[in-house]
């Protein structure tokens, strides 16, 4: 088996900003970047930098015992910011558990996101406020949800002409990873979305590793080729190129919105860190590979571009670092201050209405909790 099939060097890979910060024009996709001015470019960099800083702080909080778990995203910022910034507020997002950058583009509070990882909430934010669904901890469980949501949109938008759809129509973005691509739900979701021409953009961040399983074990062909099997367009994009990701996602959303059905985007990227804080990637992959991908870092290439074109000065980066540190300190402070709901509260959230079994279990739980000796007695 070879990694060649997944390397970001293939001719079919959409790339606008090269790893060394050169911007190339693209026949099809330049049209989708017409509004991207200097201010937006700086904004994308800021989004990515803040996301990375947040990720770093959350990882530290986990190491300090303040979070049960954290899911780092370092290396995938461009794929997330580019795609997230391509959506409209009314589009609905189904994230996995790693979409911290997408969350930023949907104005979900970083602090609130830590409730889940602190183990004090099953969600942490109201998905209806930002149209950003709760994190899905079960691999690919969000995929059928996305198809179903999009099929419902079709019903709501039934009878709209193309113009109205383009202007007011909503679409769904279903995020998933190379690991989830192998799950049955992904297949079912794509079959349904395609058959019913549901407006879903399937956005796969192929970060090369499903925990310890390398991509070549997941698929013998580039993921994008699977799109043909479902009868939907497939686009393979350099996931570390924020501009290319923005452009192809805009194209895909336009396609979906206009009633032409789903699109599959394979964003070729790389998880530079661990799968989660409970994982140690040094046990299954080579540092040489990590070094190669570090050269393709999404932040570095945009920084290079911005500096080469005199769109930023040192003060920009200094200010950004300062803002990021302040954000991180706020996140830390907020996370530590969250009230911890009593566990008994969880029993209220299983069924909408009272349920005899749950009631019985709650009674048992309370009795069990009461059965412990006082902490002072308990210490040996």
């Amino acid at each position: 088996m070879t990694r060649a099939a997944t390397q970001a060097t293939e001719s079919d890979l959409i790339q606008i900003l090269t790893p060394d910060g050169q911007r190339h024009s693209h026949e099809t996709y330049d049209a989708y970047l017409g509004d991207v001015d200097d201010q937006m470019l700086r904004g994308f960099y800021r989004d990515m930098a803040l996301t990375r800083r947040f990720d770093q702080e959350a990882t530290a909080l986990q190491r300090q015992g303040q979070l049960c778990l954290w899911v780092p995203l370092r290396g995938q910022e461009a794929a997330q910011i580019g795609s997230g910034r391509a959506t409209r507020p009314n589009d609905y997002i189904f994230p996995t558990y790693r979409e911290h950058g997408v969350a930023l583009t949907r104005d979900v509070s970083f602090s609130e996101m830590l409730r889940l990882f602190r183990g004090i909430s099953g969600g942490g934010w109201d998905p209806r406020e930002n149209n950003f669904h709760m994190y899905t901890m079960v691999l690919a469980a969000q995929m059928p949800h996305a198809a179903g949501y999009a099929m419902a949109l079709n019903m709501e938008q039934h009878g709209w002409d193309e113009e109205r759809r383009a202007a007011e129509g909503n679409a769904v973005v279903a995020y998933f990873g190379d690991g989830s691509s192998t799950e049955g739900e992904t297949h079912e979701s794509m079959v349904f979305a395609s058959s019913f021409e549901a407006p879903v953009v399937y956005f796969c961040q192929n970060n090369q590793w499903a925990i310890s399983v390398p991509f070549e074990v997941q698929s013998k062909v580039p993921l994008v080729k699977r799109a043909a099997g479902y009868g939907m367009p497939g686009i393979r994009v350099d996931g570390n190129d924020v501009l290319a990701v923005l452009a192809v996602t805009r194209w895909a959303l336009e396609h979906a919105r206009s009633g032409k059905g789903p699109v599959l985007i394979e964003a070729v990227t790389y998880r530079l860190g661990a799968h989660t804080t409970a994982d140690d990637p040094t046990k299954y992959r080579m540092s040489e590979e990590e070094k190669q991908w570090a050269l393709k870092d999404p932040l570095i290439r945009l920084e290079t571009y911005l500096r080469d074109n005199n769109l930023v000065d040192d003060a920009f980066f200094e200010q950004l670092a300062e803002d990021a540190d302040a954000m991180a300190a706020k996140v830390r402070e907020d996370a530590m201050a969250f009230p911890v709901p009593p566990l008994a509260k969880s029993f209220e959230q299983v069924y909408a209405e009272a349920h005899p079994l749950i009631k019985e279990e709650l009674a048992w739980h309370l009795e069990y909790e009461a059965g412990f000796a006082d902490a002072a007695e308990g210490e040996q």
Partner: protein
């Protein structure tokens, strides 16, 4: 001054080893500065400091094991450091877990090794909530585990689940009379030339997993792999002699052997036996439906032969006992048959209690259980107590025979050599036959030469013709 306790940096870890300190007492640290590298059952992890200030104490030394929720570092956030307290206190008692530690890389994620030295919250003396409505018993147990793990996150969800499984295991074991393993795992074992019955299962239902087979293989390889470099190590370092303190099983073995060899005058005799019929008999048993899934080996026939022969020559099944009124010979009307077993803890001689009452199949199962338990290192002291006569199966290691030393408290031991095809004279012609050598050592104070010879001849006769057992 603020004490930072070791957090659970994985999912349900209970302890970690200090790999290296990145700060010293007296150092000033910043929030999120890396101050220590720890090694958990899952990975090597750098810990960022949660407070800024001056380090006043490191609560463990490099190499120590620290329990989750136990002090790791003390930091004076005001900057008024107290005088350093000097040498970090080692964490006691945890090092006893060391023999279980393995050099082998474990599973990468998720199913990683479960630390079993978990700390549980103390319960009041009142009984656990009643099990009325046992319909939800399983739900309750896992609910309890969940409650526990959320309130004290670091603790023991895995352990509770494991206990649940352990309780279930015997029930499952009763349903099947052979080891549990999925077909691909059986195949793997077969390909590696491993008898799957020799592997200890650690699966949730006690089944043998792929990891179990792999670790068994790794252990076998490790034993062999060290050999080519053995002498080289002596030249490279100044450690030409490797010193190992004599402790535990080794110490007990040594004492027993000295006691035995210097108190009981040994007489040893040997006999070559044509065990071809035994080999045929073993093959027949293996194929019989009644013995399906049960490991059958020539040792089973020998064990039966020893019990049979001891009944005909009971003075071999005895003890020499010194009493206030002088020595006594205690001849036993039961056979607690000891089987010497090489185990991870060293040589052990657990015995099968009242082996005289077991039929062939029961004895086969008892032998399997004894070996499995011993190899898993789970032999209990009572399993080794009150032995009456022992067998040492040196043939399993490819050895023809040797002079066995009597297990203390007994007066006879039988050494079972390897069985291999050799030229043998039958009716004046040389033919290939399956030949083995039996060795026996006897305490001459109790067993005279002629008696030991008769006993050995009786054992040999059964190996020559197992059908005699039917008499």
């Amino acid at each position: 001054m603020t004490v930072f306790n070791l957090p659970d940096v994985g999912e349900g870890l209970t302890e970690a080893d200090i790999a290296s300190w990145k700060v010293q007492v007296g150092d000033t640290v910043e929030v999120n500065q890396i101050f220590v590298e720890i090694e958990t059952a899952k990975s090597l992890v750098e810990l960022p400091c949660p407070f800024a200030g001056v380090v006043t104490e490191l609560h463990a030394a490099e190499g120590d094991t620290v329990l989750v929720d136990h002090p790791l570092i003390s930091i004076d956030q005001e900057g008024n450091a107290e005088p350093p307290t000097g040498v970090p206190e080692p964490v006691e008692a945890l090092n006893t877990a060391a023999p279980q530690a393995s050099e082998e890389p474990g599973p990468l994620v998720g199913s990683g090794p479960t630390a079993d030295s978990s700390v549980r919250r103390a319960r009041t003396s009142r009984p656990a909530p009643s099990a009325a409505g046992s319909r939800t018993a399983a739900v309750r147990t896992s609910g309890a585990a969940l409650a526990d793990s959320i309130t004290r996150r670091a603790q023991s969800l895995g352990t509770v689940v494991r206990e649940e499984v352990d309780r279930r295991k015997p029930a499952v074991a009763n349903f099947v009379d052979r080891v549990l393993a999925k077909p691909p795992v059986r195949r793997l074992a077969k390909e590696l030339g491993i008898d799957i019955n020799d592997v200890v299962g650690t699966g949730t239902q006690g089944e043998i997993t792929r990891d179990d087979v792999n670790s068994y293989q790794a252990q076998r390889e490790a034993e062999h792999a060290a050999a080519p470099t053995y002498w080289a190590h002596g030249q490279l370092s100044d450690a030409r002699v490797e010193r190992t303190p004599v402790r535990g099983v080794r110490k007990a073995t040594a004492k027993a052997m000295v006691d035995s060899a210097f108190t009981a005058p040994h007489v040893s005799i040997f006999v070559d036996v044509d065990a071809s019929r035994t080999m045929e008999y073993v093959q027949r048993l293996k194929k019989s439906r009644d013995f399906e899934g049960i490991k059958v080996s020539p040792l089973l026939v020998l064990a039966r032969a020893v019990i049979w022969a001891a009944a005909r020559n009971p003075s071999v099944n005895a003890s020499w006992v010194e009493t206030e009124n002088g020595a006594e010979i205690h001849q036993k009307r039961f056979m607690n048959l000891g089987i010497a077993a090489a185990t991870p803890r060293g040589l052990l001689v657990p015995n099968i209690k009242d082996a005289q009452n077991l039929n062939m199949k029961e004895l086969a199962i008892a032998l399997n259980d004894l070996a499995t338990t011993a190899r898993a290192g789970k032999t209990r002291p009572e399993d080794m107590r009150d032995g009456s006569l022992s067998i040492t199966n040196i043939g399993a290691l490819g050895i023809d025979t040797g002079t066995p030393i009597i297990n203390p408290g007994e007066v006879a031991i039988v050494a079972f050599g390897t069985i291999r095809q050799k030229p043998w004279v039958v009716d004046g012609e040389v033919v290939p036959r399956w030949i083995t050598t039996l060795g026996g050592s006897f305490d001459h104070r109790v067993v005279d030469g002629d008696l030991s010879a008769r006993f050995m001849a009786d054992v040999a006769s059964i190996l020559q013709e197992p059908a005699m057992l039917l008499d």
